[in-house]
């Protein structure tokens, strides 16, 4: 037997053992445990604000930590920081490259970041001395498009890329401190844990991976999806991972049981999931789809309990404020809507 064959056989046998270990702890399913709980009632969220100003598809949005300011990125080549409560534009930042795919707000509120087909993550200082917003750093090293970025603090940022890797950067020196490689397909999105020690990534190899930021190592891998994972997020308790995929389903994986807990699907859903965000308690999961709507799922019972309908094109991004008060959806129809 060739060496490659032998190695593959070894890998397969280990996988079988791991599957067996997972089955051993699978003493009950989530639906069984929650069978006694009532479905959370019908959830009807209404559009409270519409943020108008972008002239082309919106690809990403991210809430600031104050739950009022948010940043959005559009293919019209602009990054807009909104005071979503008053619907005023606080900053309208013109970008060098209009093919932007992601944006992020620093927890401190001092910076925003964005990136896309230029393969770079550009950091903008919002609190410059003369009041102008300028590029602070251009983080270049990825060999593929920048699909997502998230700040750890004002000095560190994590990025995911179409080159199948994620990276931790030191913003001041503009260098990659750690490269997280292991995915076999474009990394599409990432989410950082509440304690900033770990992050999760979803990729076009249909898997999600949990990474230890400090060690630079992949701790766990979750599979089961049948197509690209476009969206990923932590469950609020930090112990579970939510994913949304082009196969039209969302899944929840538990970190401690090391396996899938439940799938959120419906035979009448015939389009991919583009984005997702849990509500503050985690009981509700808001997911954006290609069919222009968002579905609200009861996370425990895996039933649809509401719909956000109002966009005229694909919902590309969704975010729930840190205080849980409102959800924001961004769409290819160039509008952002605030719901609750």
């Amino acid at each position: 037997m060739g060496e490659m064959e032998q190695l593959r056989k070894e890998a397969e046998s280990l996988k079988d053992q791991i599957s067996a270990a997972r089955k051993a702890v699978h003493d009950v399913t989530l639906p069984e445990i929650v069978s006694g709980t009532a479905v959370v009632g019908r959830v009807q969220l209404k559009t409270r604000k519409t943020l108008r100003g972008h002239l082309a598809k919106i690809y990403a949005m991210h809430w600031g930590t104050d739950s009022k300011l948010c940043v959005s990125a559009s293919q019209d080549g602009k990054l807009i920081v909104w005071d979503s409560y008053t619907t005023n534009k606080v900053h309208a930042i013109p970008l060098k490259s209009s093919w932007v795919m992601t944006c992020a707000y620093a927890p401190s509120g001092n910076m925003v970041a964005c990136g896309g087909l230029d393969n770079m993550c550009s950091i903008y200082n919002l609190k410059g001395k003369d009041g102008n917003v300028k590029v602070m750093r251009e983080l270049a090293a990825h060999t593929g498009y920048l699909s997502c970025c998230r700040f750890l603090n004002d000095s560190e940022i994590i990025t995911s890329s179409g080159d199948c890797t994620c990276a931790l950067w030191d913003i001041e020196t503009g260098t990659q401190k750690t490269i997280f490689s292991g995915h076999m397909g474009d990394c599409m999105s990432l989410a950082v844990s509440h304690d900033f020690n770990m992050f999760i990534s979803g990729a076009c190899d249909y898997t999600a991976k949990l990474w230890d930021i400090r060690e630079g190592a992949c701790r766990q891998t979750f599979g089961g999806h049948e197509s690209d994972i476009n969206a990923i997020g932590f469950f609020p308790n930090g112990n579970a991972v939510l994913t949304g995929s082009d196969d039209g389903t969302c899944k929840m994986y538990d970190l401690r049981a090391d396996q899938e807990l439940i799938t959120y699907q419906d035979p009448s859903i015939m389009c991919g999931v583009t984005s997702l965000a849990p509500s503050l308690s985690g009981r509700l999961i808001l997911a954006g789809y290609d069919d222009f709507n968002c579905n609200i799922w009861d996370s425990l019972k895996a039933e649809r309990v509401g719909v956000l309908a109002g966009h005229d094109n694909r919902v590309s991004c969704i975010g729930v404020t840190p205080d849980g008060m409102a959800a924001c959806t961004g769409s290819w129809d160039s509008f952002l809507k605030i719901w609750n």
Binding site: M4, L7, E10, A11, E12, L14, K15, I18, S19, A21, R22, V25, D27, V28, T29, L30, I33, V43, R48, Y85, W99, M101, L117, Y145, L152, E172, G182, M184, M188, D205, Y206, T207, R214, T221, G223, E226, D228, P236, N237, A240, D246, D254, R256, A257, L261, S268, M270, C271, G272, L280, S281, L284, D291, F292, V307, D312, G324, M325, A326, N340
Partner: protein, 472 residues
């Protein structure tokens, strides 16, 4: 593809041929549409309808389609069925015979099914030359029903300018296509003409309509056969391939190397050592978490006094930012030490309590290390030394209690100080606070007062007296 290996995201299991991300969705819809058309298997009735002077072949009403969707997909709300039907129409699988706009209506409007040749799963990306041939062909026909719409006439004019030099070629192709079409039977032609028109309604939509063929630019590279010459609807080869910025040759999906597999094996070995928690336990903790926080979830429980987004009254936010935390907020601190420390007011109260017990150094150390992790790199070494001096060095003013093992590790880490030098120590101190001071904090008068909203300064006897006085 082996499902088992897919579950664990094995190396090299993604099939490059199935790479197009929309395929799964297309297959789902195609299964549905096939069932929809299968009259023998409970599909919708497809009829030839007599119209004024002629017959309209092979049509079904929108209402019939909506009914079928509701029944076969157990959809209760007709609006949902219409929405799904419009999604299917938008992709071109069904189309209204008298409208360029592809939506489904729940009435007597007539719809027809698209030919599988034109289905989106065939990865059509028709060139403008094909579109020009089509529009040109339309102008050669005398039928009133085939007259160009305004936007089509505009498109044709634009294409004539763009292809001025090769218009003769396009004209000839259009004539050739017309010749082929004319050979067909009248009824068949009606159907084929409408299907061809619906195809172009998808790929060159009416201005203002959503173009459902638009792809997420992140996925464009991975469309099926991106390198091959795009096939023409009318069998025309076009040398001048347009190269949009997103259609640059992509890296083929990575093939696994020996190193990849070896890495995977060592990863799998560590996985095997992991302790998996039982599903029942995990599910229980998930349930209790959501239950605990349901009262704090504004989408489920209306916040007090009101949700600023709904009432336009920012009192809720003003209170949150203020000095006096609400009872509800204080209650949350009791859920876990993490919750207490997440809330600035909680941190303050806990710190005050620890100061009263002369044991605040633990929390101050923990906070200092949290801050260190966010500092700019250049500040880290000096700050780390300061923390060591304040909390850990011999004779430190705020000396904390560390076990010898953590102490050794930390002092070693400080030879090359970094953001995570105090990680072990911080974890140890956190556990200490959790198991010891935190529990006492929750039992303390200070916390209980806040929890039960007992105002400071008013004694119970004072209250009783006033109560007596009022009742007599």
């Amino acid at each position: 593809m082996a499902q088992g290996s897919r579950d664990q995201g094995g190396v090299g299991t993604a099939d490059p041929d199935d790479d197009s991300p929309n395929m799964i969705v297309y297959r789902k819809i195609e299964d549905l549409v096939t069932r929809l058309q299968d009259e023998k298997a409970g599909g919708v009735p497809i009829r030839t309808v007599k119209s004024f002077l002629s017959k309209i072949p092979s049509v079904v009403t929108g209402a019939d389609i909506v009914q079928w969707l509701m029944k076969n997909l157990t959809i209760e709300d007709p609006a949902e069925a219409i929405h799904l039907g419009s999604l299917i129409a938008g992709l071109g699988y069904i189309f209204p015979i008298s409208d360029h706009v592809l939506t489904l209506k729940d009435d007597g409007t007539f719809y027809r099914f698209q030919a599988p040749y034109f289905w989106p799963s065939n990865c059509w990306e028709p060139e403008n030359t094909d579109y020009a041939i089509y529009l040109c062909k339309r102008t050669m026909q005398n039928k009133a029903r085939l007259e160009l719409a305004d936007y089509e006439a505009e498109n044709l004019a634009r294409l004539q300018r763009a292809f001025a030099r090769k218009w003769e070629f396009i004209f000839m192709q259009a004539e050739a296509q017309l010749k082929i079409d004319r050979k067909k039977d009248k009824t068949e032609r009606k159907i084929l003409d409408s299907q061809e028109r619906a195809f172009w309604d998808v790929h060159r939509p009416v201005p203002g309509c959503v173009n459902t063929t638009e792809m997420d630019i992140r996925k464009c590279r991975r469309e099926k056969n991106p390198q091959k010459v795009k096939k023409s609807v009318y069998g025309v080869t076009d040398e001048a391939q347009t190269h949009s910025p997103v259609h640059t040759p992509s890296q083929p999906t990575r093939k696994a190397t020996k190193e990849d597999v070896q890495k995977e094996i060592s990863f799998l070995n560590t996985q095997l050592d992991r302790h998996c928690m039982k599903m029942s336990k995990v599910a229980d903790s998930l349930m209790s978490y959501t239950e605990q926080f349901l009262d704090y979830d504004p989408f489920v429980t209306t916040p007090e006094p009101s949700n600023p987004w709904i009432s336009d009254d920012t009192t809720f936010w003003d209170l949150e930012a203020g000095k006096d935390p609400s009872q509800q907020r204080v209650k949350k601190w009791g859920f876990s030490l993490e919750e207490t420390l997440k809330d600035p007011a909680g941190r303050d109260q806990f710190l005050k309590f620890l100061e009263s017990e002369f044991s605040s150094e633990n929390l101050r150390f923990w906070l200092a290390v949290q801050d260190l992790k966010r500092r700019p790199l250049q500040d880290v070494p000096s700050r780390a030394q300061e923390i060591w001096q304040e909390f850990l060095a011999e004779g430190a003013p705020s000396s904390i209690n560390l076990d010898s093992h953590s102490y050794e590790r930390t002092s070693q880490n400080l030879r090359d100080p970094g953001r995570y030098s105090f990680e072990d120590a911080q974890e140890h101190i956190f556990k200490l606070m959790k198991s010891d001071s935190y529990a006492r904090f929750l039992r303390s008068n200070a916390y209980q007062d806040l929890l039960l909203a007992r105002k400071k300064g008013k004694s119970l006897t004072g209250k009783r007296l006033t109560g007596l006085m009022q009742s007599s």
